[in-house]
C-alpha cells in the first residue's frame, strides 16, 4: 500500500445546475473520499470555483485529477498540492454558550487570541467568526469546546496559487 497524501484541488467549472452532482458522483462512484468541498460563483458569473480536499495514494490522486479533467463541464483542474505554493483559508462560525458575564469576558479574550470576530451576541450565547488554516481552526475549536460549543459550521477550505504562479 502506497502512502496516502492529502491534496487540494482547485477546479473551475461551468456555473450550471448538475455540475456539482457530476463532480460528487465521480468520487462516490469510484470510492474516492471528499474531505471537504466548497463551491461558489467567481467574479465571472459563468464560472464556479470548487475547492476540493481529498486524500489517497499517488495513483488515486492521479485518477482523481484525470477524471475531473474528463468531465465536460470542467474548465480547468489544478492540484494545488503539487502545482506550486498556495494559500488556503477556511472560515468557521462557532456558537458558544455564555452562561454568565465572567465566562463571556473570558471567551472574548480567547477569541481575541484567534483574531475572531463576534458577529452575534445574546444573553446566553455568542457567535464567533474565525478564519485560518487547519491548525489554527483546530486549536480554536478545541479551546471553545471547553466552554461548550452549541453549534458549529465551516465553509470548507478555499485555496489558490500564490501571486504569479498562474
Amino acid at each position: 500500500m502506497n502512502p496516502e497524501e492529502r491534496h487540494i484541488f482547485s477546479v473551475l467549472v461551468e456555473n450550471r445546475f448538475g455540475v456539482l452532482a457530476r463532480v460528487a458522483g465521480l468520487f462516490s462512484g469510484r470510492g474516492f473520499n471528499i474531505d471537504s468541498l466548497n463551491v461558489a460563483e467567481t467574479h465571472d458569473k459563468s464560472i464556479s470555483h470548487i475547492t476540493l480536499v481529498t486524500h489517497g495514494d499517488a495513483q488515486i490522486i492521479d485518477q482523481i485529477y484525470q477524471h475531473l479533467n474528463r468531465l465536460i463541464d470542467v474548465i480547468e483542474v489544478t492540484d494545488l498540492s503539487t502545482a506550486g505554493t498556495h494559500v488556503e483559508r477556511e472560515l468557521v462560525l462557532i456558537k458558544v454558550a455564555t452562561d454568565n458575564p465572567q465566562k463571556r469576558t473570558e471567551i472574548l479574550q480567547v477569541a481575541e487570541v484567534f483574531r475572531g470576530r463576534v458577529i452575534d451576541m445574546k444573553p446566553a450565547s455568542l457567535v464567533l467568526e474565525i478564519t485560518g488554516d487547519d491548525g489554527k481552526l483546530k486549536a480554536a475549536i478545541d479551546i471553545f469546546n471547553t466552554y461548550g460549543i452549541l453549534e458549529l459550521a465551516r465553509t470548507g477550505k478555499i485555496a489558490m496559487l500564490r501571486g504569479s504562479e498562474k
Binding site: 467549472v13 448538475g18 452532482a21 457530476r22 458522483g25 492521479d62 477524471h67 479533467n69 465536460i72 474548465i75
Partner: protein, 558 residues
C-alpha cells in the same frame, strides 16, 4: 421563422446527417414522433422495446462509425434505454439518446412516467443535457453530436421536457461548436513518441497490443503499417478484432481469459508492450501482480485517465491513435528480433484453438468454423457468453468494424437489435448474428421490426440449453451446482421464428450444419433463424481462471 421545439430537434438531427432513429413512442415524446411522421430524410425505425432501440443505435454506430440515435419517452421508456446506454459507454460508442421528459412544471413532482433520467444515467454517459426551453434545443443538439463523436467517443443524453418540444422559437443552428471546457488532446507529444520509438528499437521481445480504440479512431491502416514495418508480433483484443487481419503470420489472436496461449505467453515473456487503444482490462491481464513482469509499457490512448489506471506505464502518449501511429510510423524500422519471432511461431503452432470433433452431436466450435467458411466477409454481431468467445476464437476477422460485440459491459441481448442497426447502416453487407439461447430470448421481440423491414439477417443460435458461460464456471468452480442456468425449457426457436414470420430452421446433426448455412444464404427477403442444437456441456478453452496470472492458462485439450 418560428418552429416547434420538436421540429427544431428533427431539423438539427438532419444537419448532423442522421439517417436513422431507433425508438419506441410514448406520452412525453409524442411531439418528437409527430415531427418525424412522414419525414423522408430521417427514417424512424420503431423497435419493440427501448433496450432494442439503444442497442440498434449502438450497432449502427459500431458498423458505420457514425453517431447512432435512440429515442424514447420519459420514465420507463428512458430507464429501458439505460442498459443500451451503459453498453455504449463501456465500449466508447458514439451515440445520442433522446428522451422525452414530463412538462417542466411537473418535474420533481413524481408526475406520471417521471424519472430523473439525468440522475440515473450520470455515471454511464459521456455527458447529458436536460432541456427545459425550446430555444436551447439547437445548440444542445450540435454540442451533443460534437461530444459524442470526438475525443473518446461515448453516449450523450438529451432529455427534453414536453413543453420545450411544443413551444415555438426561431431555428438557428450553430455552424460550429466550441466548448471551452472540452478540448480533447488528439496529437501525441512528440518527445514521448520519440521515446517510444527508442524503446521499440532496443526491445528484444516486444509485442503490439491493440484494442477497440484502434477501430474507433479508424486507425487500422496505421496499425497495419506499424506492424508490417516493425515486424513485431501483434495481439488484438476482443474489442479490436479485425483491426489487424488474424490471418496474418504476425497475428497472435486475442489475449486474455479465453485468448490464445500464444498471446498470453507472449505477454508474460515480453520485454516491451506497445498498447494502442487498449486499456489493460482485467479480462486481458489476469492477476496484475503476475502480468508481464519484465515488460516496459508504451500506452497510446485518447483518454488520459485510462493510462496508468491498471498498470504502471513507462511511456504514456495521450492522443488519437491515428495521429500518434502516423507519427510513430515515421520513426520505426524492422525490429531485430528473430529469436522472439521464432518463439512466437512455435507457440502459435503448438497451441492453436482446438476442440474435439464428435460425430453424434454438433460441436459449437464446428458451427463457427463453418460460418466463417461460408460468411467470411460478413459483419458478425455476437452476443455475450460462450458463443461469443467461440466466435472470437474461430472466426478469423480481417477488417475493422467486421466484429461487433458488447465487450465491456457484457450485455446479453445486445446482438439481435445491434444486428438490425448494423444491417441498416451497411445495406450491402451480409450481417450474421451469432447468438446464444439465453441471450437471444432476452431481446427476441426485435425479430418483429427485422421481419417488417425484410432485413436479410442471418441469426444463428448456438443453443446448448444452458446459460453456458455461467454453467462452465459452476462446473469448474462451484462443484457442478447448476443453479439457475438450466434452459432445457427453451421454446423451439425454429418454430418460434416461423410464428414471428421469419424462416426458422433447426439443426441437430453435424452433417446438417453446412446445408442449413447454405440454405440461409439463399434467403434474402427477410431474417432466417437457425437453431443449432449443440453439445450441452462443451467448455470454452483456453481459460485463465479469474484472479490467476496469464501463465496459469488452462489449455483444455493439449
Amino acid at each position: 421563422m418560428e418552429l416547434k421545439g420538436a421540429q427544431i430537434l428533427v431539423d438539427g438531427l438532419k444537419r448532423e446527417g442522421v439517417e436513422y432513429i431507433f425508438g419506441v413512442n410514448g406520452g412525453a415524446a409524442m411531439p418528437i414522433f409527430d415531427a418525424l411522421y412522414g419525414e423522408t430524410e430521417i427514417k424512424l425505425i420503431p423497435m419493440r422495446h427501448e433496450q432494442g432501440a439503444s442497442h440498434a443505435a449502438d450497432g449502427y454506430a459500431r458498423a458505420t462509425g457514425k453517431v447512432g440515435v435512440a429515442l424514447a419517452t420519459s420514465g420507463p421508456g428512458a430507464t429501458n434505454l439505460v442498459t443500451g446506454i451503459a453498453t455504449a459507454y463501456m465500449d466508447s460508442i458514439p451515440m445520442v439518446a433522446i428522451t422525452g421528459q414530463v412538462f417542466t412544471h411537473y418535474i420533481g413532482s413524481d408526475a406520471f412516467q417521471e424519472c430523473d433520467v439525468i440522475g440515473v444515467t450520470r455515471p454511464i454517459c459521456k455527458h447529458s443535457y436536460l432541456i427545459k426551453s425550446s430555444d436551447e434545443i439547437a445548440d444542445v443538439v450540435a454540442e451533443a453530436f460534437h461530444i459524442a463523436k470526438t475525443g473518446k467517443p461515448g453516449p450523450v443524453i438529451i432529455d427534453i421536457a414536453k413543453d420545450a418540444q411544443n413551444n415555438e422559437t426561431p431555428f438557428e443552428y450553430p455552424e460550429t461548436v466550441d466548448i471551452r471546457s472540452y478540448k480533447p488532446q488528439v496529437h501525441g507529444d512528440q518527445d514521448q513518441i520519440a521515446k517510444a520509438a527508442a524503446l521499440i528499437k532496443e526491445a528484444k521481445c516486444p509485442i503490439l497490443y491493440a484494442g477497440g480504440g484502434v477501430v474507433l479512431a479508424n486507425a487500422s491502416e496505421e496499425l497495419r503499417q506499424l506492424t508490417l514495418k516493425t515486424q513485431i508480433p501483434i495481439t488484438v483484443t476482443l474489442m479490436g478484432l479485425g483491426a489487424f487481419p488474424e490471418t496474418h503470420p504476425l497475428a497472435m489472436e486475442m489475449p486474455g481469459m479465453h485468448g490464445s496461449c500464444c498471446a498470453n505467453y507472449a505477454f508474460t515473456d515480453s520485454d516491451l508492450i506497445i498498447a494502442v487503444g487498449a486499456r489493460f482490462d482485467d479480462r486481458v491481464t489476469g492477476d496484475l501482480s503476475k502480468f508481464a513482469p519484465n515488460a516496459k509499457k508504451i500506452h497510446i490512448d485518447i483518454d488520459a485517465s485510462c493510462i496508468g489506471k491498471n498498470v504502471p506505464v513507462d511511456v504514456p502518449i495521450v492522443g488519437d491513435a491515428k495521429n500518434v501511429l502516423t507519427e510513430l510510423n515515421k520513426q520505426v524500422s524492422t525490429a531485430d528480433i528473430d529469436p522472439w519471432r521464432n518463439q512466437i511461431q512455435e507457440w502459435k503452432q503448438k497451441y492453436p484453438f482446438e476442440y474435439e470433433q464428435k460425430s453424434d452431436v454438433v460441436m459449437p466450435q464446428y458451427v463457427i468454423e463453418k460460418i466463417y467458411e461460408h460468411y467470411s466477409d460478413a459483419i458478425v454481431v455476437a452476443d455475450v457468453g460462450q458463443h461469443q468467445m467461440w466466435a472470437a476464437q474461430y472466426f478469423k476477422f480481417t477488417e475493422p468494424r467486421q466484429w461487433l460485440n458488447s465487450g465491456g459491459l457484457g450485455t446479453m441481448g445486445f446482438s439481435l437489435p445491434a444486428a438490425i442497426g448494423a444491417q441498416l447502416g451497411c445495406p450491402d453487407k451480409t450481417v450474421v448474428n451469432i447468438n446464444g439461447d439465453g441471450s437471444y430470448i432476452m431481446t427476441i421481440q426485435e425479430l418483429v421490426p427485422a421481419i417488417t423491414m425484410k432485413l436479410p439477417l442471418k441469426i444463428f443460435i448456438i443453443n446448448n440449453m444452458y446459460l453456458g458461460m455461467v454453467r462452465q464456471w459452476q462446473e469448474l468452480f462451484h462443484g457442478k451446482r447448476y443453479s439457475a442456468v438450466d434452459y432445457h425449457d427453451n421454446p423451439d426457436f425454429a418454430l418460434l421464428a416461423q410464428a414471428f414470420g421469419a424462416t426458422g430452421l433447426r439443426v441437430e446433426h453435424p452433417e446438417d450444419v453446412e446445408p442449413a448455412l447454405l440454405k440461409a444464404k439463399g434467403i434474402t427477403d427477410g431474417p432466417v433463424v437457425i437453431d443449432f442444437i449443440v453439445d450441452e456441456e462443451e467448455n470454452v478453452f483456453p481459460m485463465v481462471p479469474a484472479g490467476k496470472g496469464l501463465g496459469d492458462v488452462i489449455r483444455g485439450l493439449s
